[in-house]
C-alpha cells in the first residue's frame, strides 16, 4: 500500500465519484475531475493536505476539448486535470487560493486562449505587445511554416 495509493483512496473517500479517472505512477498521481469540482478539489488539496506548492499549469489541446492540468505538490506531485470546451474556454482562476498561479495562468491565456475568471491582472506575459489578440500559437490550428533549407542568397 504505497503512499500514492493511500492518498488516492483518501481522496476517493472524500470526493467519491467526482473524480472521474485516476492513474498512479512513482510519486505521481493524475486525477481527472469535471470543471465544477475543479476548484473544490484543489482547495481541499491546498488547505487540508498542505500541498501549497503549485508546480505549474499545463494546457493541452486534445481532439475535442482543451485539457487544463494543475500540478500540485512537494514530493509526490498530484496533477488535477479538467476538460474545457474548445471554442469558449473559461475556467475559475486559482489566484486567490495560490497567488503564485498568476504567471502560469497568464502564460496559458497568451498561448492557448483560455479565459480565467477572477484573475488579478490578466495582462500579456509571454507574447510581444503587438501580437494580435485572437491568435494563440500553441493551438493545433496555428500552422507553423516548416523550415526550408537555408536559402542560398547568392553571396560573394
Amino acid at each position: 500500500m504505497s503512499f500514492e495509493e493511500s492518498f488516492l483512496n483518501e481522496l476517493k473517500s472524500v470526493f467519491g465519484e467526482k473524480i472521474v479517472e485516476s492513474k498512479i505512477s512513482k510519486r505521481r498521481i493524475f486525477l481527472k475531475v469535471s470543471p465544477e469540482h475543479y476548484y473544490e478539489v484543489i482547495q481541499f488539496l491546498v488547505k487540508e493536505k498542505g500541498l501549497y506548492h503549485l508546480e505549474t499549469m499545463t494546457a493541452t489541446e486534445l481532439k475535442d476539448y482543451i485539457e487544463i492540468i494543475a500540478h500540485l505538490g512537494l514530493s509526490t506531485s498530484v496533477s488535477v486535470k479538467t476538460a474545457v470546451d474548445k471554442n469558449s474556454p473559461t475556467i475559475i482562476s486559482l489566484c486567490n487560493l495560490i497567488p503564485g498561479a498568476e504567471f502560469y495562468e497568464r502564460e496559458i491565456m497568451d498561448l492557448m486562449g483560455v479565459k480565467f475568471e477572477g484573475h488579478p491582472n490578466p495582462k500579456r506575459l509571454v507574447l510581444p505587445q503587438d501580437w494580435p489578440t485572437d491568435v494563440h500559437p500553441l493551438r493545433k490550428s496555428f500552422e507553423t511554416r516548416h523550415n526550408q533549407p537555408l536559402r542560398d542568397v547568392g553571396g560573394e
Binding site: 523550415n147 533549407p149 537555408l150 542560398d152 553571396g155 560573394e156
Partner: protein, 131 residues
C-alpha cells in the same frame, strides 16, 4: 501590514577588519601571480583543446554506406543527402551545424568524426560545406 525585520547578524568590528585585511592580502598576492588570461591570437598554442572536443566535422566517404540515419537525427537540418557515383551520401552545411554530435553518435560505420578544430570561420560560404 507592519513588517518587523530582525537583523541578528554579527557585524562585530574586528571580524570585518580581518576580512578586509585578508582581501587585501589576496589582492597583493595576485600582484605576483602569473596573469590568468591567455592572449588568444598571440599565444595560440597555449589554448588547450581536450580529447573528444566536438569541433569541425570530418567525413570519410569510403566508410559511408548511405543509410541516411544522420539525416533523420540532425536537429538543425544541416545534412543534405545527395547521390553521387557510389550511392547516397550526406553533405554537411556547417553554416547550420550546432556541433551537437548526434550524427557522429548515430552513424553505424563511424564515418562522421568531429575533430578538435574549433576555428570554423570563413569569408566564403562555399568552404563551409563539408564534402
Amino acid at each position: 501590514m507592519e513588517i518587523s525585520i530582525t537583523f541578528s547578524y554579527h557585524t562585530v568590528f574586528d571580524c570585518e577588519v580581518d576580512c578586509v585585511m585578508s582581501m587585501l592580502s589576496e589582492l597583493l598576492k595576485n600582484l605576483f601571480k602569473k596573469r590568468a588570461t591567455v592572449l588568444y591570437p598571440e599565444e595560440r598554442d597555449k589554448v588547450h583543446v581536450p580529447e573528444g572536443y566536438r569541433g569541425k566535422l570530418e567525413f570519410y566517404r569510403e566508410k559511408c554506406i548511405g543509410c541516411t540515419l544522420c539525416y533523420q537525427v540532425c536537429p538543425s537540418y544541416t545534412i543534405e543527402i545527395i547521390t553521387d557515383e557510389k550511392g547516397k551520401r550526406p553533405v554537411f552545411n556547417l553554416a547550420r551545424c550546432t556541433y551537437c554530435g548526434q550524427c557522429e553518435d548515430i552513424c553505424p560505420t563511424k564515418s562522421i568524426h568531429l575533430t578538435k578544430q574549433f576555428e570554423v570561420i570563413s569569408l566564403d560560404k562555399k568552404d563551409l560545406v563539408v564534402k
